[in-house]
Amino acid sequence: MDIVLRGVAIFVFLYVLMRAIGRRELSTLEPFDLILLIVLGDAVQQGLTQDDYSLTGAFLAIGTIAVMQLLVSYTNFRFPRLRPLLEGEPIVIVQDGKLIDRNMRRERLTPDDLMSAARLQNIASLDEIAWAVMETSGSISFIKKSGS
């Protein structure tokens, strides 16, 4: 029973934590982020299964996380009103080639970060961008101006 309860607690904590720290932290996977991910996984595992090395314990832990994820996903789908809270909303960061500073600041994005993402989409200049939207996944989608 303990593993299931711990699994639920850890899932809820991680979910709220990820929503609170912001999407910018989720969008990149630099070498350091990868190391952090491994460390995080190890720390979570210790709290989740502790000294339980059994197959049953592993099934319970994995099953709990899977069911919780399914629950969140279903709630997202079934109750659109809750979607902004559970998943967040996209944020417009560029409109008609102009940075929306307030939204950039909110996501701790610098113009350099933005242009780095733009170059990956073969966009060389801010003037070519009609809309740039930071998606809930943390990635930035670009819509070019017509004719660019």
Partner: protein
């Protein structure tokens, strides 16, 4: 966007607002998703959790409890806040002001319930039970000398909650000193 607006946008070279993007929500950030107080509240709570951790609220920094009586001083150095799985030590120091002919240390069940007792050093002369409590026979402690007893434990992960963990020093049937304490185990 209306047809005339779309045409105007095309003329000016600016694309229409992307589908499912609502400027009021996604540019002006008027949506519950951007409700900052909730985010800050969580971050403050997280920070408070870390500060509480630093302040030893969740263990396992040891503390000293001392009871001094005319015949002996009993000092216990052990953590009173623990977490599941932690290894820790309890150190008893007995200073005899007068001869203690048959020192006995009585520990309430909270000391062992949901705990692994890994070792006791030096091994007591005898171990038994008195009214459900653990009783260690330590033998004679001469006046002016000091006796140290080390107990090493590990907390079981399923052991959560608060327990009484008193320790009482006897000389035979005579009670000399009692340390009253509770142990809180966090999940």
């Amino acid at each position: 966007m209306s047809r005339s607006c779309a045409a105007l946008a095309e003329l000016s070279g600016v694309a229409d607002v992307p589908e499912r993007i609502v400027l009021e929500r996604h540019r002006e950030l008027r949506s519950p998703a951007f409700f900052r107080p909730a985010r800050y509240a969580f971050l403050v709570a997280l920070l408070a959790l870390l500060v509480a951790g630093l302040a030893n609220v969740f263990g396992q920094r040891p503390a000293t409890h001392t009871v001094d009586t005319p015949r002996a001083k009993l000092e216990l150095y052990a953590p009173s806040h623990l977490r599941g799985g932690l290894l820790y030590e309890a150190r008893f120091t007995i200073e005899a002001h007068a001869d203690v002919k048959n020192a006995l240390l009585q520990l309430s069940p909270g000391w062992n319930e949901g705990m692994q007792m890994n070792t006791i050093e030096p091994g007591p002369v005898g171990e038994s039970s008195r009214d459900g409590d653990l009783l260690f026979t330590l033998g004679r402690i001469r006046a002016g000398t000091r006796f140290r007893l080390f107990l090493e434990f590990q907390t079981n992960p399923t052991n959560v909650g608060r327990k009484t963990a008193d320790a009482t020093l006897y000389d035979g049937a005579t009670k000399l000193a009692t340390v009253h304490r509770t142990v809180t185990v966090f999940p």
